[in-house]
């Protein structure tokens, strides 16, 4: 039974790294309540046997989630959910939601189509995340940055 709580689906054509997809799908399950505190995530073997992705990818996703405090790796037992993702900001009457509703109304009034609005939100989110990402990039991949460092030297 355990391990059946969440089933990962990897979209190979999306260009989104598989470990990001695993983290996102876990977070979504936590938000929707299909994953709860104390649940055991599938083992790396179970995930790769079902998806044919690289096992290091699964381990990396689990490590990332452990660092974010979402799960805990218990040696010899598996990986367990330690925190739910209750989202105060996502509720109907939250300030964030109200601001977004107002903003959406303004975007509509300006004549934007649904696709335009979605593209705008995605672009803003990407730009923000990229900026955040660049600060992390350096120490995350020390080995791969060899050539870049040589050039900078």
């Amino acid at each position: 039974m355990e391990g059946d709580v969440v089933e990962y689906r990897i979209d190979r054509g999306s260009g989104v790294p598989a470990y990001v997809q695993i983290v996102e799908q876990t977070e979504r399950a936590l938000r929707m309540g299909t994953l709860k505190v104390g649940d055991k995530l599938p083992t790396a073997r179970e995930v790769v046997a079902a998806t044919a992705i690289n096992p290091n990818t699964v381990l990396r996703a689990y490590r990332d989630m452990e660092q974010a405090g979402l799960v805990e790796l218990r040696r010899g037992l598996g990986t367990f959910v330690t925190r739910s993702l209750a989202r105060p900001g996502a509720e109907d009457d939250s300030p964030l939601r109200t601001e977004l509703t107002d903003w959406t109304a303004r975007a509509r009034a300006a004549g934007l189509e649904r696709a335009d609005i979605l593209a705008l939100v995605t672009a803003a989110l990407d730009a923000y995340d990229n900026e955040q990402g660049e600060h992390h990039e350096q120490h995350e991949h020390p080995s791969g940055d060899r050539e870049r460092k040589e050039e900078d030297a």
């Binding site: 790769v48 044919a52 290091n56």
Partner: protein
């Protein structure tokens, strides 16, 4: 065994090989290190030297210059043979043996043998142990050959286009079986393939051969992060090449599309996309060496 102190899965220094004494070099001046615990994609165009490299690593050919070491041992020595398994394209199996006979043979020929792993690999493919190898489908035969390789419990598995003759469903299943075994024991895998999209989510190290030379030996994530696909006005081409390495470029009218290895932040007016691993590999495999060598000379001069 995958820690920083673990020996490299593969290490080549000045490695060269030619099939005839006075013939051209199939591999030349190859210098690379693949850390252990990686699943490495070995890519290159036909004739780039992929099979030659795998045969050298497996001890089936002997280097003409330099050397290659597998798990810090010389290929072909008893020490290497006990820890390295090779699966070549021709998959030597006896067609008249049953699957059970084949696995028994594996058990006899190897000093250490993991019967459970070998049988699991066969069973997960729904192959009856009583079937004759000659009557199996290509996908099932590949699975039996793989079971034979995995039964050795290798620390390093070398695969030469193992799935070239399989349909997409069988490919997916074999790949999943491979990944599951790798997950279980941190086995290193070196896998040559032409099916680039398949490598996207399975490989975390890339070894790219071009005309018998190693062009890339690098972490797959790092490779993605350090490259960008740019689209913009062609009059920015020179300033771009002065600072970054242009791997591949295409000009159409005033528009330039370029795959670059970034050295620092991008300046100028570019539409930037993160390329997929496949885009990067294609960029390196395409015939466009002139652009790249000019750019390399420039950055060297600037350094």
């Amino acid at each position: 065994m995958t820690g920083p102190d673990a020996p490299a899965a593969l290490r080549a220094t000045g490695l060269g090989f030619r099939y005839r004494k006075r013939g051209g070099w199939a591999l030349r001046d190859c210098e690379f290190t693949v850390p252990s615990g990686r699943i490495t994609a070995l890519v290159g165009r036909n004739g780039a030297g992929k099979s030659t490299l795998l045969h050298l690593a497996g001890g089936l050919l002997r280097a003409d210059s330099g050397e290659i070491r597998v798990l810090d041992a010389a290929p072909g020595t008893p020490e290497a043979r006990a820890r390295v398994a090779v699966l070549t394209q021709d998959k030597p199996l006896y067609p008249r043996f049953t699957v059970a006979d084949t696995l028994r043979m594996g058990e006899k020929l190897n000093s250490s043998w993991d019967r459970a792993a070998a049988e699991r690999t066969v069973r997960e493919g729904g192959i009856p142990l009583t079937a004759r190898v000659g009557e199996l489908s290509p996908g099932q035969r590949t699975r039996v050959a793989l079971a034979l390789a995995l039964g050795k419990r290798p620390e390093l598995l070398l695969l030469d286009e193992p799935m070239a003759d399989l349909d997409p469903v069988a490919r997916g299943e074999i790949m999943a079986a491979l990944m599951a075994e790798a997950a279980d024991r941190g086995m290193s895998i070196l896998l040559s393939s032409h099916v680039l999209p398949e490598l996207e989510q399975t490989c975390d190290w890339v070894l790219l051969l071009r005309n018998g030379r190693i062009e890339l030996s690098e972490d797959a994530y790092a490779l993605r992060e350090s490259h960008a696909m740019l689209t913009g006005h062609a009059d920015q081409a020179d300033t771009l090449a002065a600072r970054h390495t242009v791997v591949h470029r295409r000009t159409g009218g005033r528009q330039l599309t370029a795959l670059v290895r970034q050295h620092g932040p991008l300046h100028g007016d570019w539409h930037v996309e993160r390329p997929k691993l496949e885009d990067i590999l294609i960029g390196y495999l395409q015939d466009d060496d002139m652009v790249r060598s000019v750019a390399a000379e420039r950055t060297e001069a600037a350094a």
